[in-house]
């Protein structure tokens, strides 16, 4: 338990070395960077790993986009590499239909489980939450380390699955049975099997993380940090923790059952008398494909809020800070977040209107789905009103945070027709759905996460990120994102199905607008890719050459994360912080600088 290693290095202890040499030596490379138990290092580990996966998932998408715009043409630049790595599936640098399916399934899986969730929850949650509640670390530092390592190996397994015979999982990120089981039936150990084992590891990692986060927030709040004094970011992480804790285990159960289906040829999800390629499948039957869908979406829908709540948390912090005003309706936002958490458990079957549940069940899920849009709108409205009358500082992080609001708004509103079963039956599995959830997650959540990176970077490194590069990044991304996703609504309304490897060429006439949009979307995606280059340069170059921060609190923020030394040392706070007031005391009259920190004595 004596891990107070580098707590006070630099403060010049004059103790004889022999007295406590076991305490004060600098940890070696492995201990400091790989097997660290410090929540900040683990947060950075999560951050870098998930950004790499974000990049990789994006590259998979670029290959798919090229194939959609120019079906059957070899992929420029990486085509040769793909053929060298994957052989037959990418013959001549052309993506085969099977490979397209693999890329599609893995793009979804990687973006959701290996990029966004670990970035939003693992990275920001780990780095910021203990700082904001005034804690020295997470409640269980070693569990925290284990959580990252399990996550990492889950990711490695997912990547390795591209190289097993038959290729990576190719039944969509939802892995619906029976397709997921019969796709490679004669080969029990296939990409899908690796996917399932990888998922079990990722779920385990999330569970360990969730236990740790909730315990930390309940137990390690600083003196005076009452529940209604918590920054909204912490509330968002708290609710997210409960979603992960309670929604993920059913998917773990489902994963285990499908794994057994694949390895031992049981029939949990295989119906009686299933015929594949003219042959009756040699299994007992008696299972239920619907069971998989229920178990999957029982996670799948709360997962949407796992993606969006931390993003709302980040955006709230940044908006309050840059409008220099208290958040409007903090308490209603907290209660709205809790309502979202609760309601998200009873809306899952709105993903299944087409699988035949009967109208009564569908009505129930329609009602709950409409209900859950209320708390989301409350949060969004509160954030919009928070902007009212503020003298807003438009730095890069604020630009991203502000543009989150309309982007998430579009994503949310286009979801309403999908929540009604009458309109969903037409739109289901079309590009409309793709456009809808990407608006929520890409220009929504990812913008919020970018905002968070620009915002907390000075705390992590002691230097600002470059504003010029940041603004190029922002405007390029904003234009790119909208040109990519808005046309998908049109494609979807014209009936374009979401999983066709030729982009619908066999379905539409050659001069259909939906087909032509494929090409323009791909060009927009290329623009989006180019817009990320300044960001990548910015992240790495600013570590050494960014402008240095003037003090520990460069944004003049009120929350405790800015009351630490920069970067925060092991143990975070020089002395135990005590909280005297709410989280957003901006525009305070008579206060020096117009704001009062949470730990400032009254």
């Amino acid at each position: 338990m004596s891990t107070a290693t580098s707590t006070q290095h630099g403060t010049g202890h004059a103790h004889p070395a022999h007295e406590h040499h076991h305490e004060h030596h600098e940890p070696g490379f492995w201990q400091k960077y790989i097997f660290s138990t410090d929540h900040k290092m683990i947060g950075i580990q999560y951050g870098l790993t998930s950004l790499l996966f974000l990049f990789f998932g994006f590259m998979l998408m670029m290959c798919m986009r090229f194939q959609l715009a120019y079906p059957g043409k070899p992929i420029p630049v990486v085509g040769g590499l793909l053929e060298a790595l994957l052989g037959e599936a990418a013959k001549g640098g052309v993506i085969s239909a099977d490979l397209y399916n693999s890329f599609g399934a893995m793009h979804g899986t990687i973006m959701v489980f290996l990029a966004i969730v670990p970035l939003a929850f693992g990275a920001f949650g780990n780095y910021v939450t203990p700082l904001q509640i005034g804690a020295p670390d997470m409640a269980f530092p070693r569990l925290n380390m284990a959580s990252y390592h399990v996550f990492f190996w889950g990711g490695v397994l997912m990547l390795a699955s591209f190289f097993v015979p038959g290729g990576a999982a190719k039944s969509g990120w939802t892995s619906y049975s029976p397709l997921a089981t019969v796709a490679e039936f004669s080969r029990p150990f296939n990409g899908q099997t690796m996917w399932l084992i990888g998922m079990v590891l990722l779920i385990t990692s999330s569970l360990l993380g969730a236990v740790n986060f909730i315990t930390t927030i309940i137990q390690l709040r600083a003196r005076g940090m009452t529940w209604m004094r918590l920054p909204f970011f912490v509330w968002a992480q708290f609710v997210t923790g409960f979603l992960l804790l309670l929604a993920f285990p059913p998917l773990e159960a489902a994963g285990i059952l499908q794994l057994v289906d694949n390895l031992f040829h049981t029939s949990f999800f295989l119906p009686t008398g299933l015929v594949v390629s003219g042959q009756q499948l040699p299994v007992s039957g008696g299972g239920s494909p619907l069971l998989w869908q229920h178990l999957f979406w029982f996670l799948g829908h709360p997962e949407v809020y796992v993606l969006i709540l931390p993003a709302m948390g980040v955006v709230s912090e940044i908006i309050a800070n840059n409008t220099r005003k208290p958040l409007w309706g903090y308490k209603s936002m907290v209660y709205a977040a809790m309502s979202i958490g609760f309601l998200s458990f009873i809306v899952w079957a709105h993903h299944m209107y087409l699988t035949g549940m009967g109208t009564k069940v569908a009505t129930f899920f329609q009602t709950t789905t409409m209900m859950i849009s209320i708390p989301s709108v409350i949060i969004l409205t509160a954030l919009f009103i928070s902007l009212w009358g503020g003298s807003i500082r438009f730095n890069t992080s604020m630009l991203f945070a502000v543009s989150f609001l309309p982007m998430f708004g579009i994503g949310g509103l286009t979801g309403l027709p999908l929540g009604f079963n009458a309109s969903d039956i037409y739109l289901h599995d079309s590009y409309y759905v793709i456009g809808h959830f990407h608006y929520v997650v890409a220009p929504g959540t990812i913008f919020a996460l970018f905002a968070g990176i620009y915002f907390w970077y000075p705390k992590m490194t002691g230097r600002y990120m470059n504003e010029v590069l940041g603004k190029i990044h922002f405007w390029g991304s904003l234009v790119g994102m909208n040109l990519v996703f808005a046309p998908m609504f049109i494609q979807g309304l014209r009936g374009m199905s979401r999983r066709m490897s030729d982009g619908g060429a066999t379905y539409f006439g050659a001069d259909d607008i939906a087909l032509k949009l494929n090409t323009s979307i791909t060009h927009a995606a290329a623009l989006l890719a180019v817009a990320q280059i300044p960001f990548i340069i910015n992240v790495f170059a600013s570590i050494r050459s960014g402008r240095k921060v003037e003090g520990d609190n460069p944004w003049n923020a009120t929350t405790l994360d800015w009351a630490t030394p920069t970067p925060p040392p092991h143990g975070n706070f020089a002395s135990e912080p005590v909280v005297y007031r709410g989280p957003y005391e901006y525009s305070a009259p008579n206060a020096q600088g117009g704001y009062i920190s949470q730990d400032q004595k009254p």
Partner: protein
């Protein structure tokens, strides 16, 4: 700053960190087993009416050994009692008593697993036989004069394997017929283990009571195996605290006692899962 409340309770919540952590973890475990129980219910209610094995995919009843299952339940409940007594012994500062109770707990844990594997083996060597003329039997088989021990065969026979090994006929010992509800055993006759020789060419289906045979076996084996893994994991943790980890008792008795409490909570949960599992798969 050091992490607070690692073993002292936080005044406003009244709990130390690990206790909050274990309760949260158990909540997630409830969702895990809850999903499996729900799957069990769904598979069972969608199975066709009728009596297995006469109706092929009907839900089987009474296949599991109830006396052994009852005994195993008692074993697990005993271990739940002794784990509390072990914790109480630490509270009363009696380390020797703690270790004795821990030993009983561990013995129960491994006893449970031993009995469970005996039950598993019973199922691996028990066969369902369907003949092309419509006859259906359950019973035990002999291939090439060898009795149907799972470990003797090395694996389980089915029609494919009989074909590959070019077996022409097998000996089959059928189970005695089950008495119909309300009907008394005809003296002697019902208890008869009918022996017969079966031509492989007459067989439509031959498979042991294993996962691939029927969704009942599939869910039974998956849930009990997952529960068994929890028993094993819990036993390893308790074993660690009883022996190598017990050195903490001298350095920080309060934290050590807390660890036993937390491990004990997990152990009770494992016990509780079985208390639901036993009636659901054995009795109902």
């Amino acid at each position: 700053m050091e992490i607070p409340y690692t073993y002292k309770p936080r005044p406003d919540t009244g709990l130390y960190n690990a206790k909050v952590g274990i309760w949260l973890f158990l909540a997630s475990e409830i969702m895990l087993f809850g999903a499996l129980f729900s799957s069990y219910i769904l598979l069972r209610v969608t199975s066709p009416e009728g009596e297995w094995p006469l109706v092929e995919r009907a839900w089987p009843h009474g296949l599991l050994n109830i006396p052994i299952g009852t005994f195993n339940t008692a074993v697990l409940i005993t271990s739940s009692v002794t784990v509390v007594l072990a914790w109480a012994a630490l509270k009363m500062n009696q380390f020797g008593k703690f270790r004795a109770y821990m030993l009983v707990t561990l013995a129960c844990a491994f006893g449970f697993l031993g009995i469970k594997s005996y039950e598993y083996n019973e199922k691996f060597t028990h066969y369902e036989l369907r003949l092309k003329d419509g006859q259906v039997h359950t019973g035990h088989i002999e291939v090439n004069g060898k009795h149907a021990g799972f470990w003797d065969f090395g694996s389980i026979y089915n029609l494919d394997r009989l074909g590959k090994e070019q077996v022409k006929e097998i000996a089959f010992t059928a189970d005695p017929a089950k008495p119909k509800p309300g009907e008394k055993h005809a003296e002697g006759a019902a208890h008869e283990h009918k022996k017969m020789t079966v031509q492989v060419s007459d067989i439509q289906k031959l498979d042991a009571f294993i996962l691939r045979n029927h969704t009942f076996f599939a869910i039974y084996f998956v849930v009990t195996a997952l529960h068994g893994l929890h028993v094993l994991g819990g036993a390893l943790v308790l074993g660690y605290f009883a022996f190598p980890g017990a050195s903490m008792w001298r350095k920080n008795p309060e934290q050590f006692t807390n660890r036993i409490e937390v491990a004990g909570l997990f152990w009770h949960f494992v016990d509780l899962v079985w208390i639901f599992l036993f009636p659901v798969v054995y009795l109902l």
